[in-house]
């Protein structure tokens, strides 16, 4: 498993750069990961990221966009504004989780 340095922390990632160890993440690291892809995290971003982190522990897999929208109560439109382009993957990356595998 490759190791990369985010900020000052060395973390394990997969070939694409998604963190592979849930416990290596903290909120400072999340902010650093976000900065790497040009996102400045606001409270609205954090609501989604924190939901993803908690939901992952309960479900064992990364929530899809629909799940975030339904359970965290954040409209899909807003998620596309907060994490432009590929929102589900960007959220997973910032939250230090694998890419979501669900279809919807």
């Amino acid at each position: 498993m490759p190791v990369t340095t985010v900020g000052t922390t060395a973390v394990h990632v997969d070939a694409e750069g998604f963190l592979t160890d849930y416990d290596e993440w903290d909120e400072q690291l999340g902010a650093d990961l976000a900065a790497r892809i040009g996102i400045d995290l606001t409270d609205a971003h954090w609501r989604a990221i924190r939901f993803l982190r908690t939901d992952y522990v309960e479900q064992g897999e990364t929530a899809t966009l629909r799940r975030v929208s339904m359970l965290a109560g954040i409209p899909i439109k807003d998620l596309f504004t907060l994490f432009p382009g590929k929102p589900a993957k960007k959220m997973a990356y910032i939250a230090g989780l694998p890419k979501p595998h669900g279809c919807v």
Partner: protein, 186 residues
């Protein structure tokens, strides 16, 4: 000048590297090079099980930042017709993939039973109903278009269709709008 340089403050010697710096690995979200990829999905079937593939693929493409257009034509018009969209059906008839005797599918009430079962299974895995799915696609930036010929044949106009349908357009209009797109016919 030479003397001035000679007496300049010494530079701190570099510390010996203990390990090679880890290479920076950042996923490519395509932000630097916005995708030119464009997808056009033609939905021509009105069965419940034939409505979902187009919707799911559209949703997946939008999640990847791909401009996506859906064109609803012929039986696929039911997917966006307000009075029909919540009542699409699944029949076992003519579908050998249920692996049940074909005669069963023809029994009275069997289509209702099969439809109920399929809707239940779809809901159980967290996939939305057809009208909700259309909302999600539009909220994700997708475009819905209705076929002019189908609307004329069925005597329907914009008021009869899902509110997010952007217009009733001809086949030629759709081809024009989707120039350069990859096309899926379902």
């Amino acid at each position: 000048m030479k003397a001035l340089f000679a007496t300049s403050i010494p530079i701190t010697p570099p510390t010996a590297a203990t390990a090679a710096p880890a290479p920076s690995i950042v996923p490519d979200f395509g932000d630097g090079t916005p995708t030119k990829r464009k997808l056009a999905i033609i939905c021509s079937k009105g069965n419940l099980d034939m409505a979902y593939p187009g919707l799911i693929l559209a949703n997946a493409a939008l999640g990847e930042g791909i401009e996506t257009h859906l064109f609803f034509t012929f039986w696929g018009f039911d997917i966006i017709t307000k009075s029909r969209m919540s009542d699409l059906k699944f029949t076992m008839l003519g579908n050998t993939a249920t692996h049940l005797p074909q005669g069963l599918g023809g029994l009275p009430g069997m289509t209702a039973v099969a439809t109920h079962q399929m809707k239940k299974q779809i809901a159980e895995i967290g996939v939305p109903t057809v009208p909700e799915f259309l909302e999600q696609i539009v909220d994700s930036g997708g475009h819905l278009w209705a076929c002019r010929m189908s609307a004329d044949m069925m005597h329907l106009d914009v008021a009869d269709l899902h509110g997010a349908v952007e217009g009733i357009i001809s086949a030629a209009d759709f081809i024009e709008k989707t120039e350069g797109a990859q096309i899926l016919f379902i």
